[in-house]
Subunit: 193 residues, 2 copies
């Protein structure tokens, strides 16, 4: 995955100056597996675009158990945009699950992007509303879907990472037990043969 810059739509036709201004907010870093990039309870100052490897964000539940909030494979951005924007502490921790090459984005990256894009008539709200829809769908799934539907949605969202992540960690993302997850996978495999 090249760079977060590539996610900016072509029609934005950024000037060399604008491009340089954005690039100044990006730092490429390599982190080994296990690195904790952000700890919950602290105010985040960075976001991460994954060029290579795998990150995740998680929360600690009331029993001190880690529950996965999201995974971020290649091409994903992982961040707590709300906490960043309003300078609050984040409930999420971010950790490296596979040795990773990431673009570390400053606090200003999104603000500058938004300024540049809105000047060009590109509406950033639609992106935020899309993110909104993803979150709303996740709530609805957690409230109302069967474990099988949750699993199928996971596979659609993250087609490549099933083999890269411990089953236990996926189970916490789905809010089901690892045993229930194994059973579902077994049933689906049986139905596909």
């Amino acid at each position: 995955m090249a760079s977060i810059i590539d996610l900016i739509p072509q029609e934005a036709k950024l000037t060399p100056d604008a491009l340089n201004m954005l690039k100044a907010q990006i730092q490429i870093q390599q982190y080994p597996k296990g690195t904790l990039l952000h700890q919950s309870g602290y105010m985040p100052t960075k976001s991460y675009f994954v060029k290579q490897g795998l990150l995740r964000s998680f929360v600690l539940d009331a029993k001190g158990k880690e529950q996965t909030f999201m995974f971020a494979p290649e091409g994903w951005i992982i961040s707590d945009l709300g906490a960043l924007t309003f300078q609050q502490s984040s409930q999420l921790s971010i950790e490296v699950l596979e040795d990773a090459t990431v673009e570390v984005l400053t606090n200003d990256f999104f603000e500058i992007s938004e300024g540049l894009l809105s000047k060009l008539g590109i509406n950033i709200s639609r992106l935020l509303i899309k993110r909104n829809m993803v979150l709303q769908k996740r709530i609805i799934m957690l409230m109302s879907a069967t474990a099988t539907e949750l699993y199928q949605d996971f596979v659609t969202t993250y087609p490549d990472i099933m083999q890269r992540v411990p089953l236990k960690m996926i189970a916490t993302y789905l809010g089901i037990t690892p045993e229930a997850l194994s059973k579902i996978r077994g049933e689906i495999a049986k139905n596909n043969t």
Copy 2:
């Protein structure tokens, strides 16, 4: 609660023309308890600002049971902004829980507001990011909070509606059983005496 127009920040200093343009997108309606304003599976065309009464949105779970997604007492807006914006069918149904007076807002209301506000340098993204934070927090609560924490968050979010809504409906919002909810309320009452 007067009108959704009152939620527009003072500093916007809307011109009479702008105000009339917005007002043309609002229709005041009264609905009796039990009215289904929107049915899941259909594309929504309206949003609702609650002047008086109580609305809620809900989903049907895999067992056909209604799970409350959100409540909307006086002063709240209830909508599926994502489905509206991208003209998709909504997973949510909207119903009237108490005889209600609402402002029915057209599809264009938010687009016009955004245009007016952004011309005045008021950033609509921050509102969307706030909404984002509420949704993210809800996911984290559903994943990681104890039933007592869920209940306390509910009381903070909706200080006035505990007496107005059946316990069973609140339990589905929290994702716990009505029995667990009764027990928590009993314990809190005991600790407060």
